[in-house]
Amino acid sequence: METIFDLQDVSYTYLEKFEALKTVNLTMTAGEQISIMGANGSGKSTLLSILNALVYPTSGEFYAFGKPVTEEAFNSLEDNEFGRYFRKKVGIVFQNPDIQLFSSTVFDEIAFGPLQLGLPKDEVKKRTEGVISMMGIASLRARAPHTLSGGEKKKVCIASILSINPDVLLLDEPTGGLDPRTQLWLIELLQDLAKAGKTIITATHDLDIVEQISTRAIVFGEDHTIKADANCDVVMNNLELLTSTNLIHKHMHRHGKLMHEHLHSHDGENHHEH
């Protein structure tokens, strides 16, 4: 399988002060479905930003599709063939839909990506209509983003990326704030995209979806380093790892594929009951 992303000793520090990633070594190959797991602030979103060439490693090297991704190469995308290729190949769905929905109507939002990539206007319209139909959001096409519900916004965000038809899809906490029905719809969509051969990389701490949307899991610790990188079932059965990385509480249990918490009470300093 072709290696699409290769991170060598990558670290990232915000404002030269706050460490977000520490000495990360990773390779990702085409067609993989990967979940990046970790507690809040462990560096998941920063890693996605690096994978989307939105920020650049403070130290270490990042290669995408065999070429180095550097600020110098991506600063000006004008007349940059690799930049255009990269943007066509890799799409990101941000955690906050309001960041991603900057156009005044749903139709314009979905048409934005194909337009910027220089597709002919007829092709842009055809694609936009196709994605709107596929996502079942025809009734939203003329609506302004601020009039949409949370689930509708998420659908439009995903549609706005799918219209570019990227081979690599990066998703940051995709199920955050979604109702159960929309979550299920999203899981099925990601499964369909995976079957079509897309690479899907999801940053999440929603353990319920990990095994449904990915085969490989990477766990970040609160010290911003990788604590595990293995098959999903191996990681999900390692309760000690999940507890130490703050992904589950010590009162969370796993029965087969079901993970759940028991209600418990504390009575005194060291005693508790289930």
């Binding site: 004008e78 930049g83 156009s103 005044s104 934005f112 910027q116 302004a144």
Partner: protein
């Protein structure tokens, strides 16, 4: 786990607890209402743009250019009868575009006293514009002065000043009516894109479009600030403390909007934006659009000729 004070539960207010009722709203309540009104107004306006009326059926570029040409022609017009006729025409077009005329009049006249009334007020008096007396305001006697300015012995409202003020206000009202008609009958995104027909650079059109979109988001955030404050306000603070809180929120909004603008830029970059803006718009100019622009051009030319006394009425 819980500290002792947190384990105390009150059963309810005591019987002597007074319920004071007042009509005056606090600034928090006013701000929340203001934000809600903003959303309500924008929804109503968007609703008009989607109606099946006369102006809604025209090409947005035709409407934009027509509105600009008419505003220039009206600005040249000095005859109060002509101005009145044009103003009545705007009401007729509002009616034909399925806009409630009373709503339209209110929307226009909210702005007119603010922008025109204050400017034109001094012109009414003989202190600034000599003319025939209409109403005497004060008799000061000879030698009266205000600082270095020598005042006339009698201050009165002049007939000429009144006519000038009415003409000026009517001119402003007509121009505002034309602009409001354009806004109410055209969807915002289409209106902004139609600016391209005036060769407005694409980057400004995109920025304007995005500004309009994010005003709603930031307004929503402001409403959340005030709602959260309301929910936790147990007693009123001093004016100074309230001012300090508002100043703090203003600063926070600035930081938040800057942070958001960076993230939005990232989202644009990730979807292939490289500084060269590309916009998708489809316009189909029909016979009625040609007829509309021709009529507007003829009418505006006629207004200009009347203003120059080439055509006399």
């Amino acid at each position: 786990m819980l500290p002792e004070w947190m384990k105390e539960v009150e059963t309810g207010p005591c019987q002597c607890c007074a319920v004071n009722v007042g009509k005056k709203k606090s600034f928090v309540e006013k701000s929340i209402s203001g934000a809600l009104n903003f959303f309500q107004d924008s929804l109503i306006s968007e609703g008009f743009a989607k109606r099946d009326g006369l102006l809604q059926s025209l090409d947005p570029r035709v409407k934009l250019i027509s509105a600009i040409v008419l505003v220039v022609a009206v600005s040249l017009t000095r005859d109060i009868r002509v101005l009145f006729a044009v103003y009545i025409l705007t009401l007729l077009f509002a009616y034909l575009s399925k806009i409630e005329v009373l709503f339209f009049i209110k929307r226009v006249w909210v702005f007119v006293p603010i922008f025109a009334g204050i400017i034109v007020l001094p012109i009414l008096f003989n202190v600034f514009m000599a003319g025939d007396s209409l109403v005497t305001v004060a008799t000061l006697g000879s030698g009266a002065h205000l600082g270095p300015i020598l005042l006339p012995s009698t201050i009165y409202i002049t007939r000429q000043g009144t006519m000038f003020a009415i003409t000026f206000i009517l001119r402003v009202a007509t121009c505002v009516s034309l602009a409001v008609l354009l806004f109410l009958t055209t969807q915002r995104d289409v209106l902004f894109k139609s600016l391209r027909s005036l060769r407005v650079p694409k980057v400004y059109v995109l920025t304007l479009d995005m500004c309009y979109r994010y005003i709603f988001l930031l307004m929503d955030t402001v409403r959340d600030f005030f709602t959260a404050k309301k929910s936790r306000t147990i007693r009123s603070l001093s004016v100074r403390d309230e001012q300090r809180w508002v100043a703090g929120r203003v600063g926070y909004m600035l930081v938040k909007s800057l942070d958001m603008s960076n993230k939005v830029h990232d989202a644009m970059i990730s979807r292939g934006f490289n500084g060269d803006v590309k916009l998708l718009h489809d316009y189909a100019v029909r016979k009625r659009d040609y007829a509309a622009i021709a009529t507007v051009l003829m009418f505006s030319s006629m207004l200009a000729l009347i203003s120059q006394n080439i055509i006399r009425i």
